[in-house]
Symmetry: D4
């Protein structure tokens, strides 16, 4: 079995690399998709390509829609959508992605620390797994693909 996995959410830590590295080491057949993780590029892509906007709302609007070409295509293509909520920022786009993926019937894995537990209860409630670490995500993908569990 192969899996296509979309890694949504936090872009300021290297959790995507950790998951990918762990899966590579286990030789899993996984294709990872992700949003653009360069914060500045992601913020300014719309005006950089389609022209400046004096009003910040439209500056952001152009960028958000352009990024949506990538994120929606990736979510639709994914078998599993992992959404990571980190410590910084509002991360409403991560929760939006989780809702979008849920309505499409994607298998949802949510990753966050214990302090966000209550605030994420609806998001966790729609998920098939809730974890705290990148290693757990890799262990899940390994189990789903091979049936093997981590050695204790």
């Amino acid at each position: 079995m192969k899996l296509t996995v979309y890694l949504s959410g936090e872009i300021h830590t290297d959790w995507r690399d950790e998951i990918a590295a762990a899966c590579r080491q286990m030789k899993l057949d996984v294709t990872f998709l992700a949003p653009v993780t360069d914060h500045d590029a992601s913020d300014d892509c719309g005006v950089a390509i389609m022209g400046a906007e004096p009003n910040k709302f439209w500056h952001d609007h152009k960028g958000a829609k352009l990024n949506a070409i990538r994120t929606r295509t990736a979510i639709e293509r994914a078998d599993v959508v992992v959404v990571r909520f980190g410590d910084k920022y509002r991360q409403w786009n991560a929760a939006f992605d989780a809702g979008y993926a849920s309505a499409l019937g994607k298998a949802l894995v949510i990753m966050h620390g214990p302090d966000h537990q209550h605030a994420l209860k609806e998001v966790d409630g729609a998920a098939l797994a809730t974890v705290e670490t990148a290693d757990q995500v890799a262990a899940i993908l390994n189990y789903v693909l091979t049936g093997a569990l981590p050695r204790s």
Copy 2:
């Protein structure tokens, strides 16, 4: 024309009542749906009906899923989904609802103050209208149903 409108998001101010009152005054044929807006009931409904849980995660989990019976049914039934982001709390469930509604192709109206503009750019980017006040939501519903614009 009639509309069914789901009012998602903030539950600590009376914005739902304002919209409903304004629509009633304009005699619009709108059916409003909403989540349970009693914060305590919403938090504890799962354990109140299905039994206590010592672990807060499962306490919340039971409640979140029980609330999902109502919210998902309402979103699927709605023609228009209005999502209000207020000043307090993380409100990830509001963003989740917006993503869920968006994937189902619902007409999305987002309501928030100017300070959340940048953080909500992806959510606004998926919406057909972004507003700040309950009066604007009512004006939108009036225009959609009757074609009439507010007198200036």
Copy 3:
């Protein structure tokens, strides 16, 4: 809000009547749908209308498909599907209904005693609520429709 609720599963106890009576007492706007609960009619309907079959497989086949006209129509029409697993029989049709409803995205409520807990873990895992009694189902429908919780 109104709900259409399909009550699937066990046909040898009066759990459907208990739920309906409790909802009637609470004046909830619920339309209940159910399979044919007369065991003999349900078993023999196919041959009674379409002619006898010497082979038991085809006797049952004709009946099962005829009953499917009712059960599939009802599941598709329902907002909530409640599936009750009782003490007798294999009840594979109940689990089939649960899977069918789950794939259609229906809100699933599973009702069974504690001794079936392990055997029903996959079915419970797909549900938005798991309960033991008819009163709990009624309490869930009441909460979903009115936001009110049972008085303790």
Copy 4:
């Protein structure tokens, strides 16, 4: 033509291997998918990766949902879903899979002994073929792919 076939149900006999071996011998272009068939791993996967649960319900719940990542992905990917009901256990998850696959419009093949005939009539009624042996499943896949029938 190629086929993707999901083999659901009984995990305590080697029926999956028999089908795969027979298809290999006939050089059929079939990709087989299956649930995790290690009973202990399947039962404990949730807590092994995501942490222990004192309550058996949540222990099972975590596992059932984790397994659902694999089973739902596999069912959605399959052209044909074969569900085997064996002699042991309740096997409600097998019937659940059959209902899930049926609602998605998958071609359903049911495999069971004659003593389960009456109890499985609704499941058989939704199937395109009902058989008793692994050889018959292989003969079906061969016929579907090549048009050849078993030599008598």
Copy 5:
């Protein structure tokens, strides 16, 4: 429970009236839909409204598409689609309707005499019931709605 039933196929006998009369007598809550059953109107409707065509192919084409507005709307709206194959004509449109309804997941009931049995095997194979008489269709609708079987 209410049902919407589309009666497709043969237009030269009064089988539709027989079913409707029998259901009326049993006081069933059924809405019947049907194609235009006036043969000449059905053949000439396109050119009568949209202008004559010298070429018979386009004469028929205009009519067939105009009739499709009614038939497709009715099939989509129906819970149950009954298709009657009579003794005359090719009736390919009846078989087309059966295939169309089947792909939409409608409950299919096929009605024909024993001499068409072999030629209709694929159509019968997609149906939930195969009958010979209008009384049997009425008995099916009665059973589906009330659970009552014909008295023998």
Copy 6:
């Protein structure tokens, strides 16, 4: 039978009223839906409710999206979508509506004069009927609902 009909396209002549009047006279059970037909309101609705925009692109963008709440809801609700191409303006929104309705499987009726025949060939090719006059649309709705043809 009842029909819901969306009348898309040209807003500067009274073709909608003509169709509605003709249907009323024939006592047809038709619910008509339409876009906002006040040209100025339709152009300025976005800024009137959500605030002025110095850039004409965003002025129009706000209005177009607000109008889409009405038009998409109406198209999804319609059984039949009639699209009228008149003599003035580019009318790309009319062709957009036709494509949108076609992808949703709606029954499409296109209305235009003979001089647009070649330019509208793809749109006509997706339609179930192509007509020139409001009377012809009314005759189609009459035939679809009652089976009666215009007297010659």
Copy 7:
């Protein structure tokens, strides 16, 4: 561009080979799918694999459903469905396939002689092309893939 084409209908002439040979000669990238075209195998496959039936109805039923595993999978996988109506037999299964494919939104090409024109008007009315010869089907596939027209 590549195409997957399902060739449904008549199984007693070599029209499928003609189309395939013509496409091969033009080096088109087409994958052809077809039903089992061995009449006897197709009729008897069910009982040959799953056991004899004394009643001809169930003999045929078993076979029809087994064949449906192949035909439905093929139709769902196809971009274009070509349905050929020949001179012999009722061919209701061909019309059923056409209806099934049409409801799934497949591009439909119908192939038949002029004497079937009137009887096939509804089927032709749902098609994107109606032709008489295998050469025309090949020319269509060539045009769709390369834009080249036959030299006159």
Copy 8:
């Protein structure tokens, strides 16, 4: 990531080649699909393959439907649909394609000069990006695939 991109609209300039060349230079993994861009072949394909029509309407009708086999297949297969509105012709088929793609949830990019801004406001309102030049389309595809922005 790979993308499949359908390039709809204007066929009299070389904008498709410009985009393809720019993407090739950036070594992007994009498969481009397009309608038949030979104006005469596109107009006459229907009659060239399926026989002459004295009436221009049916001449065009045959061609439009034949072209639809290609265009609909391509739109359904595409991740991104780019629609270019040029200076000549009515281009209603371009707007139809945009509406069709929008209803299927495809990511829509619209390309046109500033003078069409007002007339295309509804089409632009449904798009995720609006641009003027082929270079901008290529920059968008580059950003979506690699996250890189054009150097200023």
